[in-house]
Amino acid sequence: MKLKPILLIIVIIILANQTYALGIAPSHSDVIFEPGLEKTIQLKVINNDYKNFDAVVYAERALAEYITIENPTISLSKDQDSKIISYKLNLPKSLEKQGLHEASIVVREIPKETKGGTTITASLAVASKLNVMVPYNGKYAEIKLFVTNFKQNQESNFAVEVINLGTENILEAYAIINIYDPLNNKLAATTSNKVQINSKDKEILIAKWTPEIGLGNYHAVATLMYDGLNTKDEKPFTIGIFELDIASISVNNFKLGGIAKFDILVENNWNEEIPNVFAETSVKDDKEKVYTQFKTASADIPAFGSQELNAYWDTAKVIPGSYKLDIVLNYLGQKTEKIFDIMVEYDKITASLVGKAIAVEEEEKPAVLKSIYILIFLVVILVIFNIFIYFKKVRK
């Protein structure tokens, strides 16, 4: 019976590693049409899970006839995280319609043999689009707004990428960026520099902005004004870092031996309500002996508001002295931790901030390393398993 959990773990681990992945980058390539354009485009086939596999590469959709795949079949080994493939594009002298023309370059895994029973075996295919844009007659521009992580009262930039996809030059283009809060109230606006953009050219417009509004989530709407025409793009962005703060801790009406009620004032400097905020508290002495652990009730903290969370500590067996109060705020999948020095006296508890600690991010590990770790883990489990079996047989 004791073997079952071990076997279960092994099975879970083996199954967990039975993944099949395939990727391609870029997943689209943009080309502005030019008569008779010849171009070689490279793609990266991604072997995220370091598997051996073969694949076919082919083009489909409207522009497929203008595409030549250099290597229609490829093989990737478990040692390769990716492989660069390429195809040649030979555009005709003209394409009838203005606007977008497309093709897809598909990399399709060649399926392995299927098993017995009623079995459905899946394999993967990924496609990279080829977008060929035939410039529109006259003036026509497309834009892409780039935003950044703004900081309060610190100037930064919006960038607007403008591509002239018209047949005519744009004499003057500039962008107006309007900033809206989550309720769509317009809060600010800024304007970019002005540029001239030749047909098929690309320009970057920059609009400087210093946020003089509260921290939070916002969205920016960029309107490109060009020679009497306009076009828009919008993006969400943030000002500052989303983080709740413990503004203060206080204990009122305290008598040693009784229940200490910690009033933890949590401040939300964000422009949106933070729901279901709770704190986990623990009181320790200098030797890390834990005296109490407590989880507060949850509370919603309004935008730019504060809310008190209450934690309790029975001090019946507590002697006066200094302790550490560790508070971990939990909200929206995030944690904020603060440690306070607290001084317990007969009739009062005072608290002062020691420092601030935020959970350390785990270093990214390449997929191959993860696989190695899993393999090592498996080997260790198998060794333990064999030892267990051996001793069991010996006992019999």
Binding site: T118, T119, I120, T148
Partner: protein, 499 residues
């Protein structure tokens, strides 16, 4: 000795010495003492006629001697003459002082001196002396009849050395470079051994021992270095220096005080994302660089700029005060080519910017299957099974790419029965949630649809963010009444493309 013949003058001669011949007697032998005197009345006329009855030799002048206690302007020059006279005549002296070969003062002694004895005959007081002057004493002796020749002796009034140039280097002192003192010492006196002396001070306190070094006259020489280990950032350095020529030192001088400047951190070397990576797919890259060094051992922070412009102007990201050697882009970047660079700051100033690197962030579609087959086992006629109850488990698709993806599906035929070919309800599929809000539910195939060998859309806009990038693909199979009891298999393909 001379014998004079006086005409018309009463003469008394006292013979004082041997070996003389009396003119009047012709006697040459015997010892004579001639005591005589010449009285020449005021009204005497006539000729005083010399003739050498006996050989009177001219005195011979010895080299005069000039004595100075110091050879410098602070001491008088004492002039000594000395002449010998074979006749043992007393001598008087004529003397001349020359300055730089130009006559200065001259005179004669008023009395006769015993020959062969050096006599101080004329002095030059120190007030008349100037540094570097050449004083010459010329002496002539007279034994009453004959003169000696003039004989000279010279003495140069010594000059103390002078420091004609001093310079410290480098102009800006850092904690990794020694502070050097160069001096040029000049001394007009040939042959003097010139020595420089240097004492360094750090923040007003003497640093180490005094340095001394012999130098060549008129040559710029690095006379002393203050080791960089002796000072630290912000320290005030100065050097006291002087020179000497064994007899006299110059006054002491102080070099211009310098403050040890802050050493800038070294140029940052970037490491990741790799330069010119045109297939970069991480939308929240972790920019990495090698630790900058700082000779002052200051704590360093870093500044990173990320821009769409090749010169990194108008950056979208401008982060300062980074204490790590990496920076994680806090929110997803849009697809574009980015240019970035980093520099270190030691709290006083910034080091040099790193090279500018670029990477092109491209969209990628990457799809992952947690299992690649579903086995319904042996199925009997009319039997229906599907994966909605996880027996067997459905396919699970995860979007591992960096952009939203659409997924379509097609399959080969599963059944042999003619009534259960593709595009019938005997082999169906649908999408289901595995994580909330992973895909566009309304535009996805979330009810059973018949499987086809032509790709059919199944999932629309599958998210790529880790918390909700997973979807289930349920499969439903039904065995037709005329399906022969053999193993059945189908090959299904999920094709993912950018939304």
């Amino acid at each position: 000795m001379k014998i004079k013949t006086f005409v018309g003058i009463n003469l008394t001669i006292n013979y004082l010495q041997e070996n003389v011949t009396r003119k009047d007697t012709g006697s040459t032998s015997g010892a004579y003492t001639i005591n005589g005197s010449i009285e020449i009345p005021d009204n005497a006329t006539g000729m005083l006629e010399d003739y050498a009855a006996m050989d009177n030799l001219a005195p011979e002048m010895q080299t005069p001697r000039i004595y100075s206690e110091t050879n410098k302007t602070s001491s008088d020059l004492l002039g000594y003459c000395n002449a010998t006279d074979e006749d043992l005549d007393n001598v008087s002296y004529y003397w001349k002082w020359y300055v730089n070969d130009v006559g200065n003062i001259s005179g004669a002694t008023s009395e006769n001196y015993t020959q062969g004895k050096e006599r101080n005959i004329a002095n030059i007081s120190s007030g008349n002396l100037s540094m570097g002057d050449k004083w010459t004493l010329s002496c002539l002796a007279n034994d009453g009849t004959l003169n000696s020749s003039w004989l000279n002796s010279s003495l140069n009034i010594k000059s103390p050395p002078t420091i004609i140039a001093n310079a410290t280097s480098p102009a800006i002192v850092y904690t990794n470079t020694d502070w050097m003192l160069n001096l040029t010492v000049s001394d007009p006196d040939d042959g003097d051994v010139l020595t420089t002396y240097t004492q360094f001070y750090v923040n007003g306190s003497a640093s180490g021992l005094m340095h001394s070094l012999n130098v060549t006259n008129g040559t710029n020489t690095n006379v002393a270095n203050l080791s960089s280990t002796s000072f630290f950032k912000g320290a005030n350095l100065t050097a006291e220096f002087w020179a000497g020529d064994e007899t006299e030192n110059t006054t002491k001088y102080n070099a211009t005080e310098v403050t040890v400047s802050n050493s800038l951190p070294s140029q940052v070397i970037l490491s990741y994302p790799e330069n010119n990576d045109s297939f970069f797919t991480n939308r929240t890259p972790k920019y990495n660089w090698a630790t900058s060094t700082d000779v002052d051992n200051d704590a360093l922070t870093y500044q990173i700029l990320v821009s769409l412009n090749p010169d990194v102007s108008s950056p979208l990201t401008n982060e300062t005060g980074i204490s790590n050697t990496y920076y994680i882009q806090p929110s997803e970047l849009d697809f574009a080519t980015y240019y970035w660079r980093v520099r270190a700051n030691d709290s006083d100033n910034y080091g040099t910017w790193s090279d500018i690197w670029n990477f092109t962030l491209v969209p990628s579609v990457s799809i992952k299957l947690t299992q690649n087959s579903i086995n319904f086992g042996t199925m009997a006629q009319f039997e229906v099974n599907d994966t909605t109850n996880n027996q067997p488990a459905p396919f699970k698709l995860e979007n591992d790419g960096n952009t939203e993806a659409n997924v379509s599906v097609n399959s080969s035929s599963l059944w042999v029965s003619a009534s259960a070919q593709l595009n019938t309800s005997y082999y169906q599929f649908k999408a289901d949630n595995s994580e909330a809000n992973s895909f566009n539910w309304l535009n996805s195939q979330t009810t059973w649809a018949n499987m086809s060998d032509i790709s059919k859309s199944i999932i629309n806009t599958l998210n790529h963010t880790d918390s909700n990038d997973l979807a289930e693909i349920d499969i439903r199979v039904e065995v037709a009444s005329d399906e022969p009891p053999l193993s059945k298999s189908a090959s299904l393909i999920f094709e993912a493309g950018e939304s």
